[in-house]
């Protein structure tokens, strides 16, 4: 398998959840339930006292008590839907990919946001603490709070952020949006 293809496969694994944790949690719960039921079955088969309730009593409790049956059904349905959603959804991690000649770079969205905040702050002439950036799969939202008494040119900041986004070349492509707060603050 060639190097680029291996890089692409590895990058995809880095950008998506393996669902191993979800499966492990589900299987540990299944194993615990199985351990309890198995123990009760063995105790009943050898005629010993049950831990909590004999299997026949457990079945009777679940079958005869209608409110309890519906409660159990609701819990099982919710857990089943959660498991199915986890199985069928993509499970993307907050990361973007940058293809380069020698390496595939995976950039955490937190790092991207921090870099865009810096570009916006430098362009706006405000401390970095006055810029908030959030990065999602296709969007970066930058909010700049100006220093009191100093106007911030929204278009210049937008241009600086767009340039920073282009310079990184992240995939999926990110569109940036810059918002400047109407009221400024006095930097601490």
């Amino acid at each position: 398998m060639n190097t680029r293809r291996m890089r692409r496969i590895a990058a995809r694994r880095e950008r998506h959840s393996s669902r191993s944790t979800a499966v492990s949690v589900a299987l540990v719960l299944v194993a615990l339930g199985g351990a309890y039921l198995g123990t009760e079955c063995v105790l009943a088969a050898v005629g010993a006292q049950p831990l909590l309730a004999a299997p026949a009593d457990l079945v009777r409790l679940a079958v005869e008590d209608e409110p309890r049956r519906l409660g159990i059904a609701a819990v099982l349905a919710v857990l089943g839907i959660i498991a199915l959603v986890l199985a069928l959804t993509l499970g993307g991690r907050p990361r973007h990919r940058v293809e380069r000649e020698s390496v595939t770079v995976i950039v955490d969205d937190e790092v991207l946001a921090s870099g865009l905040s810096r570009a916006a702050a430098d362009s706006a002439g405000v401390p970095r603490q006055q810029v908030r950036t959030s990065v999602s799969r296709n969007r970066a939202a930058v909010r700049v709070t100006p220093v009191s008494g100093r106007a911030v040119a929204q278009s210049a900041v937008a241009q600086a952020v767009a340039s920073a986004v282009t310079a990184v070349g992240a995939r999926p492509v990110i569109r940036s949006r810059v918002q400047v707060a109407e009221e400024g603050v006095i930097p601490r």
Partner: protein
């Protein structure tokens, strides 16, 4: 990045989900029975446990539980494999991941935004992949840093003498102070 079979993980989650939903339908039968057609009801009757199981049925149920426990624990305990100490295998010799870490750290030593570098090898589909983790300073200039990482990985591969499948992850370094290699 591990060698876990992700498709199988999802298939297993889907099976567990479907099993739970079937359990939910069985438990809700008093409410659902008037709504369900006869063929579905006859299938559901097969899934209803006997109200007074005999000894043989109890032993069969206990054996089934034991089998489920063994399969579940075997699955859980074999997750997350694939990481190897040996990152590169060349004809005649092997290169430890620590060597690659040292090479990558050296190649990135002039980058002010880089706080820490670590690397590891992974076995993936019969091949080896090198994963380099680069922790960066908050507000790092990515327009400069990403090409620098590319160049550093090219230098690392030239020094190893092989073209390697390398994936570098840039993550936030938090409060870590820069580690130096002198």
């Amino acid at each position: 990045m591990t060698r876990s079979n992700r498709t199988l993980n999802r298939v297993l989650l889907a099976l567990i989900g479907l099993g739970l939903l079937v359990g939910a339908v069985l438990a809700a039968r008093p409410v659902l029975d008037p709504l369900l057609p006869e063929p579905v009801l006859s299938v559901l009757d097969l899934g209803t446990p006997p109200q007074d199981p005999d000894t043989t049925q109890l032993w069969i149920a206990a054996a089934a539980c034991a089998l489920i426990i063994v399969i579940a624990l075997a699955w859980v305990l074999t997750r997350g494999r694939g990481r190897t100490r040996t990152a590169v295998v060349r004809p005649g010799d092997e290169i430890d991941a620590k060597v690659l870490t040292a090479l990558a750290t050296d190649a990135l030593r002039t980058q002010h935004d880089v706080l820490h570098v670590a690397s590891a090898g992974y076995r993936l589909r019969g091949a080896r992949v090198v994963r380099v983790q680069v922790e960066v300073r908050p507000g790092a200039d990515l327009g400069r840093l990403v090409p620098a990482v590319d160049e550093a990985m090219a230098v690392m591969q030239r020094r190893v003498g092989l073209e390697l499948p390398v994936v570098a992850q840039l993550s936030a370094g938090g409060n870590r102070t820069r580690s130096r290699v002198d």
